[in-house]
């Protein structure tokens, strides 16, 4: 099997599994318990909090453990909206190509009377700081822009956007689910007020993440109950997964330079190889993207068929076609960067990591080429384009 869907989830690292097992065997007490055994668990919880805080330039008191990126996004937005409401501010700025954890929460806030402004995304998949600056109003209570896009991998100018927000005294949240462990993050120098992270995107366990909230930002509870997480997120902490997350994030940050050098070389090879397929296009800026992200559209074919046939060849990949999303519309991300529906249906996302090899990249390039050629050979759309009855959209 060739695994090339690391943006969906990653394989847990050996060190993260060991951290998890060790916790389950040795520190399975409840961190809220008074006795020494419980307090040992609490010590481990706090150590994990410190390790994670250090990885992103935060203070450990600013780290809140959650069930993952979606919960962190929900809590960040709902908290910021509640703060805004107190001051009569009900305008929120975001972008058209955010993750649904953001977009659906914004929809919910819209129904509660907030005004949501989604910035257009340029064809290169990048939001400009100027766009954000121009959109901010007197009544803006929050700007939320993702660190890096989950489908096309483009990296946003977070530091500059944060700088503008800070100058205008508007809270700035970033969904860093795809970026954490893959790109350097420093909430201080990058002017970030709130940030979401999910552990399973950097070889940690599923079902765990964090919300960073700068000191002094009051959070709104999504889950009521005990006094865990300073009373802001009830429920006995998932300590084994938290310890695995801390281990995985530290590993990812410590080895980021070496890993990225290796992944970048593989990514460039993959992009060069796929770009040779006629009437195809890379989605998103070629350089300003996550090290492991390769997103392509192929004209005349449909993404789900492509994925199924790649699966037959042992390749795990993903697509933004309607059929893979369970809706009738293709990916909102590809539509946001201006891809026509027909082209967006023929998308392929390959997300590689440091465990992939050059041989695997060769195999992916060869397999994608074969499958695209085959699907085009049975596609009436392709036939019409070749015969000149319909025009090509991609060169």
């Amino acid at each position: 099997m060739i695994y090339a869907d690391n943006a969906a989830t990653t394989k847990m690292s050996r060190s993260a599994i060991n951290a998890m097992l060790s916790c389950m065997e040795n520190f399975w007490g409840n961190p809220s318990s008074l006795y020494d055994f419980g307090q040992k668990a609490a010590e481990n919880l706090n150590r994990a909090r410190e390790i994670i805080a250090n990885c992103i330039g935060a203070n450990s008191s600013e780290i809140y453990f959650t069930s993952g990126g979606s919960e962190a996004d929900n809590q960040a937005l709902i908290s910021a909206a509640a703060i805004g409401e107190k001051h009569g501010k009900r305008h929120i700025i975001s972008t058209a190509f955010e993750h649904h954890a953001i977009l659906h929460t914004l929809k919910k806030l819209e129904r509660k009377g907030f005004e949501i402004e989604l910035l257009d995304v340029h064809e290169d998949g990048i939001i400009s700081p100027q766009q954000v600056g121009e959109a901010i109003r007197e009544d803006t209570c929050l700007v939320t822009v993702m660190f890096a896009n989950n489908e096309i991998g483009t990296v946003q100018p977070i530091e500059e956007i944060g700088k503008i927000c800070r100058a205008k005294k508007v809270l700035f949240h970033t969904d860093a689910v795809q970026a954490a462990g893959h790109l350097p993050i420093n909430v201080q120098t990058q002017n970030i007020d709130m940030l979401s992270i999910s552990a399973h995107k950097f070889h940690g366990a599923k079902g765990t993440g964090i919300l960073y909230a700068r000191k002094g930002i009051p959070l709104t509870n999504l889950i009521e109950g005990g006094a865990q997480e300073k009373g802001k997120r009830a429920g006995t902490e998932n300590l084994p997964a938290v310890m695995a997350m801390a281990t995985a994030l530290k590993d990812a940050c410590d080895n980021m330079t070496d890993n990225n050098a290796k992944i970048l070389a593989l990514r460039e090879k993959l992009i060069d190889g796929l770009a040779k397929i006629p009437h195809s296009t890379l989605n998103g800026d070629r350089n300003n993207r996550l090290p492991g992200n390769v997103s392509f559209c192929f004209e005349g074919i449909e993404g789900e068929s492509l994925l199924l046939l790649l699966d037959d060849k042992g390749i795990c990949a993903s697509s933004g076609s309607a059929c893979t999303s369970g809706s009738l519309d293709p990916s909102h991300v590809l539509l946001a960067i201006g891809r026509p529906h027909e082209i967006a249906h023929g998308s392929l996302r390959l997300t590689i990591d440091e465990n992939n090899t050059a041989e695997e990249i060769d195999c992916i390039i060869k397999s994608v080429g074969e499958v695209v050629e085959y699907l085009r050979s049975i596609s009436p759309l392709w036939k019409d384009k070749i015969s000149g009855k319909r025009e090509f959209i991609l060169s």
Binding site: E302, E304, D312, S321, H345, I378
Partner: protein, 129 residues
């Protein structure tokens, strides 16, 4: 459980009657690129019998499998019987489709009807099925 039945995967991986027919007696096309599904059916008709059928499909796995299954179900059959083919029958023959994929079998039924209609209008026959 996998997304698709073994039958769907078999017809998707090894589609029957894929391709086109030169000088087809009837050609039907349904769907559009925007929705991500286009099906084109080619029919050869001799004495009101489907003597040959081919299809070309742009679409997902179930669209390709539905086209393939539908062609198998009508090949060698008289027109009157062919026009009774329903999307339900295609779906059942495939051992079912996921709910959000049922429209693929509808497209297969519609593509065949469109091809027969094309045959009728080309030959000044009354389309009264």
């Amino acid at each position: 459980m996998a997304l698709y039945s073994q039958k769907v995967m078999d017809h998707f991986r090894h589609p029957r009657n894929v391709g086109s027919i030169e000088n087809a007696d009837g050609i039907g096309e349904v769907g559009n690129g925007k929705c991500g599904d286009i099906m084109r059916m080619y029919l050869k008709i001799d004495n009101d019998i489907i003597s040959d059928v081919k299809f070309e499909t742009f679409g997902c796995g179930s669209a390709i499998a539905s086209s393939s299954m539908a062609t198998e179900m009508i090949k060698g059959k008289p027109l009157a019987e062919v026009m009774k083919l329903t999307n339900k029958a295609v779906t059942e023959a495939l051992d079912g489709l996921p709910t959000h994929k049922l429209h693929c079998s509808v497209l297969a039924e519609e593509a065949i009807r469109a091809a027969v209609q094309d045959y009728c209008s080309k030959n000044n026959l009354e389309y009264n099925f």
